[in-house]
Amino acid sequence: MPRVTIARNILAANEEVAAEVRGRLAAAGVRCINLMSGPGAGKTTLLERSVARLRGRLAIGVIEGDIETSLDAERIEAAGAQVVQINTRGACHLEAHMVRDALEALDLQRLDLLFIENIGNLVCPAAWDLGEDLRVVVVCTTEGDEKPAKYPQIFAAAQVLVINKLDLLPYVDYDPERVRTQALAVNPSLQIFSLSCRSGEGLETWCGWLWHVGRAPERSSLPASEGPVIQGDGAAS
């Protein structure tokens, strides 16, 4: 039976759009972070606190992905960021075309740093390049401490890990060292921040890093950029 060559990545269409997004952001001098976690790890609170702390020093925009509602967007907007809400109406991850459309509603010239808050899910978002420069995964002390071993793909594809809700450590059986060990086993170059959005512990270090990311003059000088290459990165360079 005749065969016809296709030789294309299954996600090639997404990667083309991601490259377009990456190009537009680079042209406007905006750094982009794809923020991922399971539900309830504290992505939105982390953004709220980061935006509030960096107000006046770093212009932050947020593309807020949720399955339904604009509750999170309202919280972040109140903290002082430009926000666009995407509702996926059931889809378990964001795709690059959603981000491209959301960019229309942002004034990129006035931004230093753009966060894309992905859908709360540790599985599906890992496969979709959104045009980001860096991927940050958030876990927290009220989840099990075996997340990096159970969901290795998302940790392998990230440059940064945030361990949140440190203030609850006395009340839970959570071993942050175990999480660090597991996460570094799947991704030895992962940069790790431990913090509590509630008590503020560790937020200064985290915000200092964000400031550096937002103000880095060249993409190649981004902190933690020597980690594993993000899928689709090559298309942009």
Binding site: M1, P2, R3, V4, T5, I6, A7, R8, N9, I10, L11, A12, A13, N14, A91, C92, H93, E95, N121, V123, C124, A126, A127, W128, A149, P152, Q153, F155, A156, A185, V186, P188, S189, P228, Q231
Partner: protein, 128 residues
């Protein structure tokens, strides 16, 4: 969970290629999927069958999936090894490897087309 989106993407790529080549009926689509790509092969098969049934060109098509093992290269040992649980550490010498050889692919290789199609084989060299 995201296999439905992957199946949709596969169908769009194959439909476009079929139209380019004047193919009326696709018999099979060959994929290479890495064991560490996060794809559940059974779920992808089910999603493909469901969506392909809605496509005139793909209604009869089956999905043939070649699963590649997750392997990495150890520079000091000059040999490859199987990556277990995403931990790319050489079992022989303990060195961490960043050179992944296989296991993360998500590729559409080619398609088998009906013998009644005009072109087919001659498109082999065009790797779009």
């Amino acid at each position: 969970m995201h296999e439905l989106a992957l199946a949709q993407s596969i169908i769009e790529v194959v439909e476009t290629r079929a139209e380019e080549c004047g193919v009326r009926q696709v018999r099979a689509v060959h994929l290479r999927v890495g064991e560490a790509s996060g794809v559940l092969v059974e779920a992808l098969q089910a999603a493909f069958t469901m969506l392909a049934s809605l496509s005139p060109v793909l209604a009869e098509a089956r999905l043939a999936i070649e699963v590649t093992p997750h392997r990495a290269w150890c520079e000091p040992c000059a040999s490859s090894f199987a990556v277990e649980d995403f931990i790319a550490r050489c079992p022989a010498c303990g060195t961490w490897s960043t050179r992944i050889l296989s296991g993360t692919e998500l590729q559409i290789l080619d398609m088998e087309v009906g013998a009644d199609n005009e072109q087919g084989g001659q498109e082999q060299e065009n790797n779009g």
